[in-house]
């Protein structure tokens, strides 16, 4: 390996835990020291053995990090994630990051709620860890009991985590926005991450009242603003999730154009 590879880092998978619901926690040890990572920032990654198929690295939000290790939650949804979680401990990985300039920025003195849907909990765990002092509540919505392991795992990290599930099999019955609505109307700011329908529900309930900062997803090529693959339509034009985001002020985003 070379002395400086810029954002291209190498890491070894040192911990892998299956949490249920198709979700794994993966921890990598990096060879070099990591720079400071801000909540919402992400890495693109894949095992070194990916040469040309799979070809593209996959983006994942940082859940936690220290000087030379970094942790992600990976939900298996397709061939890339399937292959990533099949790797043994010790497997060398390509880790490109930290990426993203639009991040969750702590706003002291305001009431701040975090709301996560499913795997969207990942960047919010990072936000909580580094800004727990300013967070007033954290709601984690999941579809059903398959997520019990993930919910337990998250609860062990976040004191006072409120869990909700669509079918009531875990925590409150209802969606995360539903629960948030019950928690009180006076929220200055919301940090959100989850499926598009959840983001729409949050915006429907709190748009105009609270500032809603949401971490968005998009298919990515480069992760550095070069290829224009990952754009979302906003009031400021087509913006790049990898470079201008992934965290955006939801009031600027054309929610109906999200894929």
């Amino acid at each position: 390996m070379h002395c400086s590879r810029g954002l291209e880092r190498e890491g070894f998978l040192i911990d892998k835990a299956f949490l249920g619901g198709g979700v794994y926690s993966l921890r990598f040890e990096t060879k070099e020291l990591l720079p400071e990572i801000l909540p919402g920032q992400f890495f693109m990654l894949g095992p070194h053995r990916w040469k040309s198929d799979p070809f593209l690295l996959r983006p994942f939000a940082v859940v936690d990090w220290s000087e030379n290790d970094v942790e992600f939650l990976v939900k298996v949804v397709g061939r890339g994630t399937k292959d990533i979680v099949s790797c043994e401990r010790g497997t060398p990985f390509r880790l490109r990051g930290p990426l993203g300039n639009g991040v969750f920025t702590a706003a002291r003195g305001r009431s701040l709620a975090l709301v996560a849907g499913g795997i969207g909990v990942a960047p919010l765990l990072c936000a909580w860890k580094f800004h727990s002092d300013v967070v007033s509540s954290f709601v984690f919505g999941v579809s059903n009991g398959d997520w019990a392991g993930v919910a337990d795992w998250a609860s062990s990290k976040v004191s006072g985590l409120t869990v909700a599930s669509d079918d009531g099999s875990l925590g409150y019955k209802g969606t995360a926005p539903d629960v948030l609505k019950k928690e009180g109307d006076l929220i200055d700011e919301i940090w959100a991450c989850g499926p598009v329908p959840m983001l729409k529900a949050v915006y429907g309930a709190f748009g105009g009242k609270s500032l809603i900062m949401a971490s968005l997803e998009s298919r990515m090529g480069c992760g550095i603003g070069g290829c224009h693959s990952c754009t979302v339509k906003t009031q400021r034009g087509m913006l790049k999730v990898c470079h201008d985001g992934p965290v955006f002020d939801l009031s600027e985003v054309f929610l109906d154009e999200l894929i």
């Binding site: 070379h2 040309s52 490109r96 090529g221 550095i224 693959s229 990952c230 754009t231 339509k233 087509m238």
Partner: protein, 316 residues
Amino acid sequence: MSLSDVSKSLPDLSVSIGGLTLPSPLIIASGLWPHDASFWQEPYSAGVGAICSKGLTRRPRAGNSGIRIWETPSGVLNSIGLQNRGVEVFIKEELPHLAKSGIPVIVNLAVESLEETTESLVLLKSAEKDIAAVELNVSCPNVDCGGMAWGMSADGVSSVLLAARKAWEGKLWVKLTPQAFDLPSVGRAAEDGGADALVVSNTWLGMAIDVEAKKPVFDRIFAGLSGPAVFPLALRCLYEVAGSVSIPVIGCGGVCSDEDVLAMLLAGAAAVEIGSMLMHDLKCISDIYESLTKRMALWGVGSVADIIGKGRGDRF
């Protein structure tokens, strides 16, 4: 010579392309690299011979709606649709910073109408000193008016060159499309029209269907295929065109390794452009540069020029 002796006689990797000298034959292809000077320096700049700008148009373009990138076996389909801020903003806000990097800037100009092309070139003339070459893109498959249509035939390319050469006296490259039926004749038309070099070629027209959604993945249905999958096709195109023109031809399509670069050079390429591989590894170019240097030293080859065309068979 053993590997340990390599450093004693490092070969010269600079190349000359129609009078333009580049420090390396490895050029970053259009549409992959940010117009952001922080990426135009170490460690990313190591081994880079030149960088092509994103495809520019006379006026800003928002690009295409919907999904824009899709992975295929060893390949990538893209339908970006030339999102860019327009030639004027580029010249004012971006180019000066990029030029400061010292890396030769190749301005990729997407041909829409002939008028717009002329206008853009006139504007670019004002920044001529910062531009190593203009690469006329007559091959973008992802837009409606113009784009690839110009590159499909010798006639189309001739009219583009006629207009362009009136407005731009600097180095002029033409980036061809593999969708053209008779690439050699299109290449000759570009040569006759005054092109200094050809780039062979752009993406291959493909498509994808989202089977569960039961519809095409891309809003525009078709998209451009690039990446390792197309290398054998691109190498064939390069070989055909390089055997049919006397200006330099730059190979482009699926180049991922020093072996690929050498194959292109042996087939007659004067240099290569590397695109998709950068998505796989932002620093691939410096790695390729290093292994290329080593291999050339092992072969006892002193310069890139000594390789170009040396692997051609007797066809063409």
